[in-house]
């Protein structure tokens, strides 16, 4: 860990070769993962970079984990969740400040044509992460649970609701309001979620 300095390829400054290999193998995949979670190209790269930086700082542990990549994905999911939540919160408190009328929603709720990315971003962070891990990576419920550090039951309910809500939104992109009933109502009960 103390800098095996056999630098043949461009490696992030200050890291060792084992980490450099990990970095090289996974940065793109992590950035894509982050992109699905956060919906912006530059921000996705930043999330990947931050997750990798965290991984490097704890590399002694991460590298000996059963599945280092799962671990780093979790970090990335957390960072992405934090970022999207912050946006939501800032928007919310701004709305309070401005007496209730605020625009600036990055994902206008009344948009007539909803694409997948938009629909995805409307899901709460946890649900979104579940959906992406389950359906993008094809992880099992158990793997998803262990990646995110949550229970299998939560993964089950979150990903099936997530799917349902996405379906409703996408289907409803023409008939906007029909979508609100299916997935949404249910999630409203636990909607303190966010």
């Amino acid at each position: 860990m103390d800098g095996g300095s056999g630098g043949e390829r461009r490696r992030p400054h200050g890291t060792d070769s084992e980490f450099a290999a990990f970095f090289a193998a996974h940065y793109n995949e992590l950035a894509r993962f982050a992109y699905l979670l956060i919906g912006e190209h530059a921000a996705a790269d930043d999330v990947a970079a931050e997750a990798l930086a965290e991984a490097w700082k704890g590399w002694a542990r991460v590298s000996t984990a059963d599945r280092p990549l799962a671990y780093v994905r979790r970090i990335a999911a957390n960072i992405a969740a934090n970022r999207t939540d912050r946006v939501v919160r800032e928007r919310r408190s701004w709305r309070l400040w401005s007496g209730g009328r605020s625009e600036q929603a990055p994902h206008p709720d009344s948009d007539a044509s909803v694409d997948l990315q938009t629909a995805l971003l409307r899901l709460p962070a946890r649900k979104r992460a579940c959906v992406v891990l389950r359906y993008y990576y094809d992880l099992s419920e158990r793997e998803t649970a262990s990646t995110l550090g949550i229970s299998v039951g939560t993964v089950k309910s979150q990903s099936s609701r997530g799917l349902e809500e996405l379906a409703a939104q996408l289907r409803g992109s023409r008939t906007a309001s029909a979508a609100a009933n299916g997935g949404r109502r249910r999630s409203a009960t636990e909607g303190a979620n966010r």
């Binding site: 950035a31 930043d46 970079a49 930086a53 984990a65 912050r86 800032e90 919310r92 946890r126 993008y136």
Partner: protein, 270 residues
């Protein structure tokens, strides 16, 4: 309750779409490398004691706990404080205002009465087990008749802070309202609230106030809390130039099921 319609996208369809979507992003290696190097520049070498990698895990990913294993174990015995492994062996003690130490495993869970249904993940276990090295920043005194402890989480960095608050009612309470005020004016930005109480039982709100941030947590009407330790983490970004923890305060008011009025207040700086 089921809401079916003809052309409902299914899992296979979604997988396909997500892959297509992801293909739309090609990572910019230079950008990532630059940011990575920037982030790792100062602390440079990985350190086993800093546990910074656990950083994100304390976040409310989703309102979920990640140091689960240790935390669950300790929460079940209702240890009052933010329990680390080192201090977790105090079955059923209601620790009053004074004691604790912050612990890095003060990761906060959302599930109310924790049941260890989930097997620990590799992420949760090993790093948490290493948690005992942390030295708390001390715990601040509290005044009032509701036992509470507050501290600055040891995982806080020069950019990001979590202030921990543990409330340990000794009897069932039916009303609870917590206000946390974070100083720093516009230089601080909330990154959220965590709690061990199920999100559905709470209303939370963060607002920007002239002095900084104000976090509000209110137990929803009709909910009650049994005697146990309930943890909260109030998180925010701060400027590296400094943050005056001594100005960050909390104020708690509540009502016990027998209508006794409960209060606690204090600061986070130890």
């Amino acid at each position: 309750m089921k809401h079916t319609n003809d052309s409902q996208p299914d899992g296979a369809w979604l997988s396909d779409q997500l892959r297509r979507q992801a293909q739309g992003h090609d990572a910019d290696l230079d950008r990532i490398t630059a940011r990575f190097e920037h982030l790792t520049a100062d602390g440079a070498a990985p350190s086993t004691s800093r546990r910074r990698v656990m950083g994100p895990m304390r976040m409310r990913l989703l309102g979920i706990p990640l140091g689960i294993a240790a935390v669950l174990a300790s929460a079940t015995v209702a240890v009052a404080v933010s329990v680390g492994i080192a201090v977790s062996a105090r079955p059923h003690t209601v620790v009053p205002v004074t004691s604790p130490k912050t612990s890095p495993s003060a990761t906060i869970t959302t599930a109310a009465p924790p049941t260890p249904t989930d097997t620990p993940t590799e992420g949760a276990t090993s790093p948490t087990a290493a948690a005992t090295t942390a030295t708390g920043t001390g715990t601040a005194d509290s005044t009032g008749n509701l036992p509470a402890t507050a501290s600055v989480d040891t995982h806080s960095t020069e950019y990001w802070v979590q202030e921990n608050l543990t409330v340990t009612p000794t009897r069932t309470i039916k009303e609870l309202h917590i206000t946390v005020t974070v100083s720093g004016g516009t230089s601080v930005a909330s990154t959220g609230i965590w709690t061990t109480i199920a999100p559905a039982e709470l209303e939370t709100e963060v607002t920007r106030v002239p002095g900084g941030l104000e976090y509000q947590v209110t137990l929803k009407p009709g909910q009650s809390l049994k005697p146990a330790a309930y943890r909260f983490g109030f998180q925010f970004n701060r400027p590296a130039s400094g943050h005056d923890f001594a100005l960050d305060t909390y104020n708690i008011t509540g009502t016990a099921s027998d209508d006794t009025a409960l209060t606690a207040s204090g600061g986070f700086a130890g």
